[in-house]
């Protein structure tokens, strides 16, 4: 079943066109990797999908599970199962990780018509999920991302994904800033979250991540469009040849 259908997407930031006719189809159960040089618009795509203000869609459509995603607020998208693991997770002093996640999960559960979790059940759940990304329980009771290292922030993003159980997870450069051990842990966490009714779109600059989370499809974003799609082997080609030959092709 088609989960996400992006057609001819054009998006601008501060009047500058970034995405120029991007199309992408993602089915439930699939893992897609979007690769591309720095500044090619990968994070822009992630932000447009999650509904961030300041990104103006000038043309095209995004349909998520039959609904017009662009007509929905960020929180409506989240409650319907869209999750973005941020490239740069924000620190929120004074807001406790556990409270934030509990409020988020219960907002999502209310939306789904499920009963809210009480404090005890929630704590049990989050402790179980924290093990998935080998996150020390000490981090749970700290303020959201405050004073976390780059790697800890990325783990925290995947922990949130594990708790919120999205249908569509967008991972924006989840591998950046991770050493090899942390990368294995995070990748292992993501792999355990692969499901037949969940789609994952990984955004990455390097193919390193793809050795650990093996995608079904690899796409190359350059010049604001997907210029090439293929399987796992496309990533290997990119690793060998870089992006320049594709940029030339796109031009």
């Amino acid at each position: 079943m088609t989960m996400l259908s992006i057609r001819n997407l054009h998006a601008a930031v501060e009047g500058k066109a970034i995405l120029k006719g991007l199309s992408l189809e993602v089915m439930a159960g699939e893992v897609h990797a979007i690769m591309g040089p720095n500044g090619s618009g990968k994070s822009t795509l992630a932000h447009v999908l999650s509904g961030r203000e300041g990104y103006e869609v000038t043309e095209g459509s995004i349909v998520f599970e039959g609904k017009d995603l662009l007509a929905m607020s960020p929180e409506e998208r989240a409650r319907d199962g869209v999750f973005l693991a941020f490239q740069y997770p924000v620190e929120i002093p004074g807001v406790n990780n556990v409270y934030m996640l509990k409020a988020a999960l219960n907002a999502i559960r209310r939306h789904r018509g499920e009963p809210e979790l009480d404090a005890v059940d929630f704590l049990r759940l989050i402790k179980e999920k924290a093990m998935l990304v080998q996150m020390d329980e000490r981090f749970l009771s700290r303020a959201v991302n405050e004073g976390f290292s780059g790697g800890e922030k990325k783990r925290n993003e995947i922990l949130q994904m594990a708790v919120l159980e999205p249908k569509l997870a967008l991972l924006d450069e989840t591998d950046s800033g991770l050493d090899i051990d942390a990368l294995r842990v995070v990748a292992n966490g993501v792999n355990q979250l692969r499901r037949s009714d969940r789609a994952i779109v990984m955004i990455t600059h390097y193919q390193r991540l793809l050795e650990h989370i093996v995608p079904d499809f690899v796409h190359v974003l350059a010049g604001g469009r997907i210029v090439r799609s293929g399987g796992r082997d496309l990533a290997v080609t990119l690793e060998e040849r870089g992006y320049d030959w594709l940029k030339e092709e796109a031009a």
């Binding site: 999650s50 509904g51 961030r52 203000e53 607020s73 960020p74 929180e75 998208r77 989240a78 409650r79 999750f83 973005l84 941020f86 997770p89 924000v90 929120i92 002093p93 004074g94 807001v95 406790n96 556990v98 409270y99 934030m100 996640l101 509990k102 409020a103 988020a104 999960l105 219960n106 907002a107 999502i108 939306h111 404090a119 303020a143 959201v144 949130q160 919120l164």
Partner: protein, 441 residues
């Protein structure tokens, strides 16, 4: 020059002066204080200390100093219930009058708590002191209180006596009489190495449009530790002017918390005199204004002696057409070497129409001192807002959570769990969307 605005307080004084407590000498001092108030009237915005705060609305009211009107206890009880439960010792005042029937002050060893009226009647020196010691030069509002102070409380803590359990002084304003004016006076004298915690709380019926003009004097003896809480949560129609005057002897430690949520016009002056070497003071504050509320804190700390320390940490949350004012003056006198004075004031504006004026004022006349101050005015972090929304929190809940978090560290400094809880609920109650997360905090 126009005549000083005194509303109808001068004729009110003539009407009630015979019923005010104290002997002939006290009466004389009251009259002198009234004359000082009459000479200047309510402060005007030409007065630097009142530049951002207009008393015009206050001066236009036809105040009623209704000390001769019987208290409507049924209304008092209802407002009292809304003030939040308190299972410790407390003195309750309804419309300015002490109510022994609603109070449950304990008589602990070394602790003497007397209603002000009774204390003045039995000890003329208190009368002298309250009218003469109170730093009337600081503000005509203090003179006004000195003239009219009818009730309140006098607390004496004996040398070495330690009282960990906080005492609450609850002042309830009813809407029984329109434009009622009350003038509570609180005097705390903490002996050497004694300790005490006092909570002053001001609440009112929602329709109460009265004027509270209160003066609290604290004297901390050598090595004494005094914690003072001031929770101003009057009705949104009320006028509230408070003065806190603290004098500290050697090695005493005072902590003041000022939390201001209520009143249409709220002005709080805090004057700390670090008169003994090694004395220290911490001032914590949180103020909120919404609608057309105006909240003004003016603090002044005088470092008179060497090795004195002050730390000031104030935060403001302004929404609607709310207006905040913070002025933090620190004077390090010539003699006060090795002074350490830190000040911070942070403000959060929740709407385009909200406003704040914040101004640190440092006057340093001594060498070898450590002074720092910082003031900020900001809005909610858009990145954090988006982050929370992207996790499923709706916008109002996300705003509430971030606003609440902004106030959080001030609450964390309170040190009394039940106050912390009560104020958390109070803050959240003012933030649409907070219900979604409040049970979690």
């Amino acid at each position: 020059m126009s005549t000083a605005a005194t509303a109808n307080l001068l004729p009110e004084f003539e009407r009630v002066s015979a019923s005010l407590p104290g002997d002939a000498r006290v009466a004389e001092r009251r009259r002198a204080a009234l004359a000082r108030f009459a000479a200047s009237g309510f402060p005007s915005q030409r007065d630097e200390a009142w530049r951002y705060t207009s008393t015009a609305g206050l001066a236009r009211r036809k105040h009623s100093v209704a000390i001769d009107t019987p208290v409507n206890l049924a209304r008092g009880r209802a407002a009292l219930a809304a003030a939040g439960a308190w299972d410790g010792p407390q003195c309750v005042f309804v419309d300015g009058s002490h109510r022994p029937d609603l109070s449950n002050a304990v008589a602990a060893a070394g602790l003497r708590i007397r209603p002000f009226a009774a204390a003045v009647a039995e000890d003329g020196r208190i009368g002298e002191r309250f009218a003469g010691w109170g730093g009337e030069e600081l503000s005509p509002m203090i003179s006004l209180n000195a003239a009219f102070a009818a009730d309140g409380v006098v607390i004496d803590v004996a040398d070495g006596a330690e009282h960990g359990e906080p005492l609450r002084l609850l002042f309830v304003m009813t809407a029984d009489v329109r434009d009622r004016a009350v003038f509570p006076r609180v005097i705390v004298r903490a002996g050497q190495r004694s300790s005490l915690a006092v909570v002053e709380q001001y609440v009112g019926e929602s329709a109460a449009d009265g004027f509270t003009n209160t003066v609290t004097q604290i004297h901390a003896g050598e090595g004494a530790r005094v914690t003072h809480y001031r929770l101003q949560d009057e009705s949104p129609k009320a006028y509230h002017v408070g003065n806190l005057i603290v004098s500290q002897e050697r090695a005493s430690e005072v902590v003041s918390h000022s939390l201001s949520f209520g009143a249409l016009l709220a002005r709080q002056d805090i004057h700390i005199m670090l008169s003994g070497p090694e004395s220290s003071v911490t001032l914590n504050g949180l103020y909120m204004a919404e609608g057309r509320q105006h909240v003004d804190h003016h603090t002044r700390i005088d470092h008179f002696e060497p090795t004195t320390r002050s730390e000031e940490y104030y935060k403001g949350i302004l929404g609607g057409h709310g207006r905040g004012v913070f002025n933090g003056k620190v004077v390090v006198h010539q003699h006060a070497i090795k002074t350490d004075a830190q000040q911070s004031n942070k403000n959060l504006l929740l709407s385009n129409d909200a406003e704040v004026d914040t101004k640190p004022e440092l006057e340093i006349y001594a060498d070898d001192v450590k002074c720092a101050h910082g003031a900020t005015v900001g809005q909610l972090d858009e990145d954090a807002l988006f982050y929370l929304r992207s996790r499923g929190l709706d916008e109002s809940a996300a705003r509430a959570l971030l606003t609440y978090a902004f106030a959080g560290d001030i609450l964390g400094r309170l040190g009394i769990a039940r106050l912390q809880k009560e104020l958390a609920a109070r803050i959240a109650g003012r933030l649409p969307g907070a219900a979604e997360f409040l049970e979690a905090v």
